[in-house]
Every structure is written in C-alpha cells, then in structure tokens.
C-alpha cells in the first residue's frame, strides 16, 4: 500500500531565519518523487487540513531553543500521544505545533507519525535571507528529512 507522506516547511521567508522550514521543504521537494507531498505552510493551523490521516508528516521549522544557530534537531512525536510535552518554544508560531497536533487528534484525523526537524535560528527580524549558519544547515536538515522518509517507506 502506498504511504501518504507530507513534508511541511513551516515559516515565513520574509522573517529571516523563519524561512528555514520553507527552504528545507524546497530542498526535499526537488529530491523526492511526486508521491511525497512537499509544501510550505505559513500558519501551523493549516497543517490540520494538510496532514490529516497522513502515514508520515515531517514538519520542518525554525527553532529558538537556545542551541547554536544552525543546530539541527529531530523530535519524533510518534502519533502525538505526548504532544503536551512539546508545547513551548519549539515553534515560532502562535498556535503551536503541539496544539495543532492535539486538535487533529481530538478530531480523529491525526497523522500516524509526526517527525519534527528543527533548525535553530538566530535572527527573526523582517528581511529576506537566512543567517550563514542556518543557510549551511539547510542541506543537512534536508538530508535528515530524506533519511526519515526513506526509512519509513522501506519499513512499510
């Protein structure tokens, strides 16, 4: 059975490093078959319609965790059973990812597995272009996303 895989690049490329998610989504979109949906999501709530019932959703977002700029982190949320634990500074967006995941679960359409790939940003001011450290991390994060997808598909 074909797996439904979504890669969501969360963020806004006009807010400097907040554009990291869209940049990784573009990187992945150029390197995956058309069966893998790769899209830019501006507002986390738009994930609700986009990731419903997906087998795997990989969400890529800029983070502000205090790590060094460009640090790539992976958090496997599974089916989101413990999504409460992840509320907080992971996302730069208002209705954070964990809430959106809990909402989708409450409505009975959560993805089977959600993996978050974060790239630590350092500048979220108005402007275009990623900081050098974040720019360098985009291929690293992109390759990590591709690896997650490959493993998931080969295990199916």
């Amino acid at each position: 059975m074909t797996q439904r895989v979504l890669v969501a690049g969360l963020g806004n490329e006009y807010r400097s490093d907040d554009g990291a998610g869209p940049a990784v989504a573009a990187y992945v979109g150029d390197r995956t078959p058309s069966t893998v949906e790769s899209k830019v999501i501006g507002e986390p709530l738009d994930l609700v319609g986009a990731w419903e019932d997906a087998d795997l959703a990989v969400v890529v977002d800029a983070t502000r965790s205090g790590a060094a700029a460009g640090t790539v982190q992976l958090v496997d949320l599974g089916g989101g059973e413990n999504a409460d634990s992840y509320s907080g500074p992971m996302s730069t967006h208002g209705m954070d990812l964990a809430r959106v995941l809990r909402l989708t679960r409450a409505m009975g359409h959560a993805p089977s597995r959600v993996v978050v790939v974060g790239i630590e940003g350092e500048n979220f001011a108005d402007g275009i272009g990623l900081s050098p450290a974040v720019e360098v991390a985009v291929p690293e994060a992109g390759e990590l996303v591709l690896q997650v997808i490959d493993e998931a598909i080969s295990c199916a």
Partner: protein, 435 residues
Amino acid sequence: MTHQRPADSRTVKVEGLARVEGEGSLRVEVRDGTVELVELEIFEPPRFFEAFLQGRRHTEAPDITARICGICPVAYQTSACLAIEDACKVAITDQIAMLRRLLYCGEWIQSHALHIHFLHAPDFFGCEDAVELAGLDLAAVQRGLEIKKVGNLVMEVVGGRAIHPVNVRVGGFYKAPSREEIAALVEPLRRARDAALASVEWVAGFDFPDIEIDYRFVSLRHPEYYAIESGRIASSDGLDLDAEGISELVEEQHVARSNALHARLGGQDMYLTGPLSRYALNSGQLSPIAREAATAAGLGAVCNNPFRSIIVRAVELVYSCDEALRLVEAYEPPDPPAVAVPGTAGIGYGASEAPRGLLFHRYELDGDGLIRAARIVPPTSQNQLCIEDDLRRVAQANLSLPDEELGWLCEQAVRNFDPCISCATHFLDVSVERL
C-alpha cells in the same frame, strides 16, 4: 502567572495571547481605581515591505505584499493590484473583477471560519484554545474546519494554491480556471453555506458582556454589492471618499512604544474598520439568506457590541459562501485572463476589505514602471486606537475582577477585533498593573 510586587503595586502577566495572529504586548495601568493607561504594543511588518518595494517592478507588488500576512494574502494582492492599475490608468474587465471577488470570498471564508471557531469561540466557553473547545463541542470545531477547507479550496482553484496564491497578477490572473474547475466548487460551497448558517445559530446563543460603543464606522461601500474587493470609502458620519481620498485623509503617527503607526482620520482620533463597520454601513446589501440569518440571530441594522462581532463575522461567513456560489454559477472564464498593464509614471491608490478591515495601498511609479514609493495601511493599525479605547472601557467596568480574570477579559477585548498584527513569530503578553 502572577508576580507579587512589594507595597502598593502589582503586575499580572498573562503569557502569550496565542490566538491573536501577531506579535505584541498589552499593558493596562490602574491607579486608585481608575484605568490610567492602556497600551497595545504591536510590531507589524508593512513598514519593512514599504521600503523593500522601492525599486521593484510594478508587477511585483501583488506577490511581494501577499507575503505580509499568511491569513489575508488576497487582501494584500487585491489592494496592490487596484493601486498599480490605478497608477497605470488601466481598467480590468467585469469578468476579471468577478473572478477577483470570488478569490476574495475564498479568503473571507477561510479567515472568518478560522477566527470564529478556533480563535474567538473558545473565549465564550472559558476554554484556553480550540483543543479544549473540541472536548466540549467537537461538532462545532469540525464544522469550522470543514468550512475553512472550502475557503482553501476556492483559493486553490482560483488562486493556484491556498496559501499565498500564485495565480494573481496585476491586471487579472495568469490563467483563468476552466468552467469545470469552477463548477466543482458548487457542492462544497453549498455545504459550507449550510454549515455557516449552523455557525450563526451557534454563536448567537453565546453569552455576551453587555457593552455598547458608539463607534465611528468606516468601510468600503459598493453601489451593487456588499463591499469586499472594491468600492468607495464610507463612514457613519457621512464620509464618501475614493481610495486616494482616504489615503490623503488618514494620518499615521509614530508612537515610541510600537513600530506600528496609529491611524487618525480627518483629524479625529478614532475610527473602526472591519465586520462591525461593514455590517453597519452595508447590511442592506447582504443576500437574502445572510440577512435572514442576521435577523434570526438578533442583529439589528447596526451592531455596537464588540463582543457580538463574532455573530457579524458568522453572518459574513454565510454571505461569502452565498456570494461565492452566485459568482460560481455565473462564471464566464475571462478571456484574456488579464489585461496588459504597461508600467507608466504615476501615482495610484487601491482599497479593499480584508476580513479584519479596510486595507489601502498607495504606489508611486516612475517612467520605467519601477516603484519609487509605497504606502500600506493595514486594518489593525487603523483599529489600534479603538482597540485601546475598548480595553480602557472593559478594564474600567471590570476592575472588581481579580487580575487574572481581568487579564482574560482584556484578551477577549483584543480578540474581538481579529487583529492581524503580523504573519509570523507570535506573542502578546498581557500585563495589568495596579499602582
């Protein structure tokens, strides 16, 4: 979270008003039982975009300004197109105008569905967010999502994608959707209209604080339709202006605490844009089904209670579904899908009704069609003084409440306006200080 201060002062902080699309903070200062100061600090991106647009080609304005807001890109695209077309003295065809209106209906549907069901309704149930609300009324939250999806679908079919549509260009569209593509919207829109009617009934049953405010309403007014994507600017005190007129009349003042500008119209301090204003000035132009829904929900010709704006928004949700259906059923693909708009030296103005209020743009072009100056006045900066005034009233009338409850009520008073403060990195910290 409550922080005790020594002696006679106290600060209450409500962390993260997450259901406002933006970034900012709210401070209320109370001295000897009187609200002395209300400051809504907001940080909004249009100023950056105004500078960024300088030197860009006139055809780039819709795509660039669409990125100001993830919730209302069509509003920015439309006002930009209108202003550039005005500067270049080009008129679009009726068919292009109607397709633009259909796209805008899609944005109203998705934005209003989002605000009503996910951001605003939780307030009336004492819920922290839509997740908690789903535990109490799952059907309502699901209904909101279904309606929002139909709005997204309209934007995908007409605009090329649901977020930051790519099919819009100065002069019209890159490609006109086929009749078949548009006809496929009929059933989803009918379902959305029925669902929106249920939402009007739902929100009409909420408990609302008893407050009436004598707003100075300002909105677009169109001779034939409930104004969305075009029209002249009208006000409850008799203004009748075109987009140039309001652009000249609105003064914006910098205040030290915010990088948003405070708008004043014609020397008077405050005016309100958004659903309450549109409804007050244009309710007679709603379609019969939307008018009936408004009447059944207990709305008169004017609604002065900001907390009841959720009902007006729901009525507009019905209308935008109903109007989209009318446009879909009358659809003729514009051929060509866009009129040519050669860049010429000139100044142009454009105004449209973003879901949360009036949005106007002004562009100055040189002889090569390059943008020399841009001015973008979003609804939230126009409403900021009204928001602060409402907050002052609400806080003053409820000083007997404990700080936490007062902070919560103040948050609600802000959300009544559906402020769209920026399109990313969101915070709004609320603090109440009793000195």
